[in-house]
């Protein structure tokens, strides 16, 4: 089982360690104590034995001394010397009493008992222990003997008159009093016992003891067969072990007297037991205290950890308000403060992330996501029917041009300025957002069905953007187109509303009306538009693209030596699709590069084919800004020229002013290399951009194409006509061929001829034709444009030449 909780683990560890230490300590102390106790008992017994032996010796010495003193007493000797038995008996009794002897015997030199206070009368008999009788007074010894069934410490001293005339034997009874005396000094229980080998049933008999009868019996039952030396044994006395020491005191054939010193082990071990109990209590107490302490320690660790964990959980759930409250200076305090810092940092970062996620960093307006959220929310609220909503989708006209031609810095400035103006104009908006690029969206809460409110807002915006935006003192003219869709009239969900506002905006842009409220018929064109874009991707693979060629007719000779290749999409269901419908989107998506490559290849292939047919035509191909960013373009062009054996001079690449303004240096390099190949270059749509003429001069171009808008208006507007003329002059001064586009009538044709323009291109001469149709037309007209109604002019011109 794994213990997961830190607290439990800490407690277990603490307690286990302490318990281990306690058990070990207890075991050691207990063992030491136990052996100490036993050693102490041993030692006590040893001491007891020594003291006992010493006491007996002292007793014997005292006895000997007394006996000698008595034996030397003149009166005593005198009485003994009288040989008067009566007197002797009385003297023995009297003097015996004087020294406290319990037995007094006089033995004559022959070893016969003359008188005996213990056993008076009884006739003549030998003294039982002749070994005690020594002639020399100094040899007198004391020994334990049995007299009349009782134990005595006996001493025999010769009675000198002055030669020995007999022995006086004195005995001190071995009795309970003596045992008690010995116990007082040895602190051991003392028992004197007698072994009588003759008797069969009762081996041992107690002579004297300090213990009671029961204990004596138990002791005797445990007595061993004695050898000569002192012996130790453990005797069970009424359930308690006693350690006993058996000391032989006298050993002769008849009887054996021993002293048994003993003490209860229980008594000796009592102190040890108390110590052990104290140890156990201490161990248990310390374990309990360690449990309490480790719980406290564990809690002091795990409580803050739990607090930290719950704080972390709160942060995880996004609650950054409540800080972690742990006031400590230790690691946990540091961790808590780190967590607090982290909480603040995460809150800040989340705020930043939210800002990034929901705000446009450039303008500080809401972004697309935020707008979508706000819109969803507003729709949910407005669904109650209490109020209506209006969304305005705004797209800047000409912004792309500003951005492309003047750089992103200017574009950003424009966007910021527009957003500032928006904010000042529509203060009541629920949300003003920049959706990306130059797209803005405004959400306004309105009353129900109040068209005027929203159109007023749109008008105010348009008016606000009328004033030019200044960038470094230069005015920039940026207009706007606004599409308006209302909830619930033009859609009940956000997606529909936004789409419809978008559609309205495109309508406004198309119609150049500034703003437009959504109308249902806008929808279909827009739908078409979007689906075309998705289908364009498959157009190349399905071989749905075609190149049409529009001739460029010389205004001087009416000869046709060049054509412009124009792409057409032959849609399987829609029929021919105008390039205006898909080229801008192809440019936006980058798909234009593939289209350009396809166009170049197809144009070169066609050029080569015509060459083989004997038709030498320069083909112009439109190159977009993105194509100019492609540094491989010159190589690709060279490869195609080689592949189809086309002289480079038969290829003319048309570029718009904006096409090279995005990265002029890079564009210049690409154009230089194309020029080195021998490819002609032409500036398309000249006059619509802001390009500096001096810059154009540096480009290796051979041709200038005047934008169709000038040609269309030059007849009605003398100023435009002046511009056209100046442009033509300018081109000629720069040694460029000048081509006019969009020539749709004879008036234009003639006017351009008068102005000295070199070539003309337009429906007046020919619409774009398929290659086969063109070549047929060319052959039929001898590669000349037979200008209806201008023959005379032509003729006149010819004649002039």
């Amino acid at each position: 089982m794994r213990i997961r909780r830190l607290q439990t683990r800490i407690i277990l560890l603490f307690v286990a360690l302490l318990a281990l230490v306690q058990v070990a300590a207890f075991w050691f102390v207990n063992a030491a104590n136990s052996s100490n106790a036993h050693a102490k008992i041993e030692e006590e017994l040893n001491i007891g034995q020594r003291v006992f032996a010493r006491l007996l010796d002292q007793n014997a010495d005292k006895l000997k001394l007394s006996a000698r003193v008595l034996a030397a007493d003149f009166a005593f000797r005198e009485a003994i010397a009288t040989h008067d038995t009566g007197t002797i008996a009385s003297v023995l009794a009297n003097h015996g009493a004087r020294i406290g002897a319990d037995a007094m015997v006089f033995v004559d030199l022959d070893g016969n008992v003359v008188s005996d206070t213990l056993r008076p009368g009884g006739g003549a008999r030998r003294f039982e222990y002749p070994a005690l009788l020594k002639m020399n007074r100094n040899d007198a010894t004391a020994s334990m003997e049995v007299l009349d069934g009782r134990g005595f410490q006996l001493v025999a001293v010769p009675v000198l008159a002055p030669l020995p005339i007999g022995w006086v034997v004195m005995g001190f009874a071995v009795d309970d009093a003596m045992a008690r005396d010995l116990r007082t000094l040895t602190e051991l229980e003392v028992t004197f016992a007698l072994e009588t080998p003759q008797s069969t049933d009762k081996h041992w008999r107690v002579l004297a003891s300090t213990v009671g009868d029961d204990e004596q019996r138990a002791l005797l039952a445990g007595m061993p067969q004695l050898a000569g030396a002192a012996q130790r044994l453990v005797v069970d006395i009424s359930g308690v072990d006693h350690q006993a020491l058996v000391i032989p005191l006298d050993d002769n054939d008849n009887a054996r007297i021993v002293a048994v010193l003993h003490r209860s082990l229980g008594g000796a071990l009592a102190a040890f037991e108390r110590l052990r109990n104290t140890l156990i209590v201490l161990a248990v107490l310390s374990i309990v205290m360690s449990i309490v302490g480790s719980i406290a320690v564990a809690r002091s660790i795990t409580r803050p950890l739990e607090t930290l964990a719950s704080a972390a959980a709160r942060i995880e759930q996004g609650d950054y308000v409540e800080p972690v409250r742990i006031e400590r200076s230790d690691e946990i305090g540091v961790l808590a403060s780190s967590l607090n810092h982290m909480r603040g940092s995460i809150a800040d970062r989340e705020k930043r992330i939210l800002k990034l996620a929901y705000e446009d960093p450039l303008t500080d307006l809401a972004n697309r996501s935020r707008f979508a959220n706000e819109l969803e929310r507003a729709i949910a609220l407005a669904s109650s029917g209490e109020f209506g909503l209006t969304i305005l989708m705004m797209d800047l006209d000409r912004f792309k041009y500003v951005n492309d031609s003047l750089g992103h810095g200017v574009g950003d400035h424009v966007l910021r300025e527009v957003s500032a103006r928006l904010q000042s104009v529509v203060e009541s908006a629920e949300c003003i957002a920049r959706l990306g690029g130059d797209e803005f969206a405004i959400l306004v809460k309105t009353g129900l069905a109040h068209d005027r409110d929203c159109t007023n807002t749109a008008r105010r915006i348009v008016d606000a953007l009328e004033a030019p935006i200044l960038f470094e003192g230069q005015p920039l003219d940026v207009g706007a187109s606004i599409g308006i869709a209302r909830f619930p009239d033009h859609g009940r969900d956000a997606q529909t509303l936004v789409r419809n506002a978008d559609i309205a905006m495109y309508a406004a842009k198309r119609n150049k009306t500034g703003y437009a409220v959504y109308e249902s018929h806008y929808d279909t064109t827009q739908q078409e538009h979007l689906s075309l874009l998705s289908e364009l991707r498959r157009a190349v693979e399905r071989n749905e693209l075609r190149l049409y060629y529009q001739p460029k007719v010389s205004l001087h000779s009416a000869n046709i030596s060049a054509v412009e290749a124009l792409i057409r999409w032959e849609h399987p269901t829609r029929g021919l699709v105008s390039p205006a419908l898909f080229i801008p989107f192809a440019e936006q998506t980058g798909y234009i590069k593939l289209l350009t490559r396809w166009v170049l290849r197809e144009a070169m292939r066609q050029c080569g084919e015509w060459l083989r047919e004997g038709l030498r035509l320069t083909i112009s191909v439109n190159i977009s800004a993105r194509d100019l960013m492609n540094r491989d373009l010159p190589e690709q062009v060279a490869a195609l020229l080689t592949e189809y054996c086309v002289p480079p001079s038969l290829l003319c690449l048309e570029i718009t002013e904006s096409g090279f303004m995005e990265d002029p240096a890079h564009a210049q390099r690409v154009l230089d290399r194309l020029s080195e190949l021998g490819v002609k270059l032409s500036i398309d749509d000249y006059g619509t951009g802001y390009s500096s003429l001096s810059y154009v001069m540096r480009l290796p171009v051979q041709e200038l194409k005047i934008d169709r808008s000038f040609i269309a208006q030059m007849a009605s507007d003398p100023e435009i006509a002046t511009i056209v003329r100046s442009t033509i002059d300018l081109g000629h001064n720069l040694n460029l061929k000048v081509v006019a586009e969009g020539v749709e009538d004879l008036a234009a044709w003639n006017m351009l001829r008068v102005l000295g323009c070199d070539d003309a291109q337009g429906f007046f001469m020919s619409k774009p034709l398929e290659a086969r149709a063109l070549s047929a037309w060319m052959r039929a007209n001898d590669a000349r444009f037979d200008c209806p109604g201008a023959i005379s002019n032509t003729a006149r011109l010819r004649s002039l030449r």
């Binding site: 030397a72 003149f74 000797r77 005198e78 010397a81 009288t82 000198l160 008159a161 002055p162 030669l163 005339i165």
Partner: protein
């Protein structure tokens, strides 16, 4: 007409024993030796250096024995012997009165103060007695012929007494005693 009796005393090891007490008592029943009369006599047992000097004395019954004290400490002489029981008070110098040993027998003397002091006084009813010399022998002179009970004893040498019958006539007789420890 009288004969001499030369007596020699040896111990069990054959060594001559000096200061042995020797005396001959005529066997009145067997001989015609006249019973000796007892002339008053005096003897002297000195106490020198906590010793009786001589340690062994032999006197004729009726002899008065003087106990001068040559030590500068006092002594108290006693005897529990049946032949003569007496005791003197503590005395020094020549304070003690003489003690008459009037009965034949062995009297052992002790000092009540000094247990080690011991002396033997052989009180005999015969004029023929002597102590052996350094060579362990002595000659009793002027013994009328007849039978005698001759006793040799050397208590100071811790040897047992020996008594033997000896016939004495005109010719010098001799007898050798071998004493053994009792």
């Amino acid at each position: 007409m009288a004969g001499d009796l030369t007596l020699a005393v040896r111990d069990a090891g054959g060594k001559s024993v000096s200061d042995a007490v020797l005396y001959a008592v005529p066997d009145l029943a067997a001989t015609s030796v006249p019973a000796p009369t007892a002339p008053p006599a005096r003897a002297l047992i000195d106490q020198v250096d906590k010793e009786f000097v001589p340690r062994v004395s032999i006197v004729r019954a009726g002899t008065e024995v003087f106990f001068p004290n040559s030590d500068n400490i006092r002594h108290s002489i006693y005897s529990f012997s049946p032949a003569k029981t007496f005791t003197t008070k503590l005395y020094s110098g020549r304070e003690a009165a003489p003690v008459q040993f009037d009965k034949a027998g062995i009297v052992v003397l002790g000092c009540n103060i000094h247990d080690k002091m011991v002396a033997w006084v052989y009180v005999v009813d015969t004029p023929w007695f002597a102590k052996s010399g350094a060579d362990g022998s002595v000659t009793l002179k002027g013994l009328p012929p007849g039978d005698y009970r001759v006793t040799a004893a050397a208590p100071a040498s811790n040897l047992g007494a020996v008594t033997t019958d000896v016939h004495v006539d005109a010719a010098p007789a001799q007898h050798s005693f071998t004493l053994t420890a009792p």
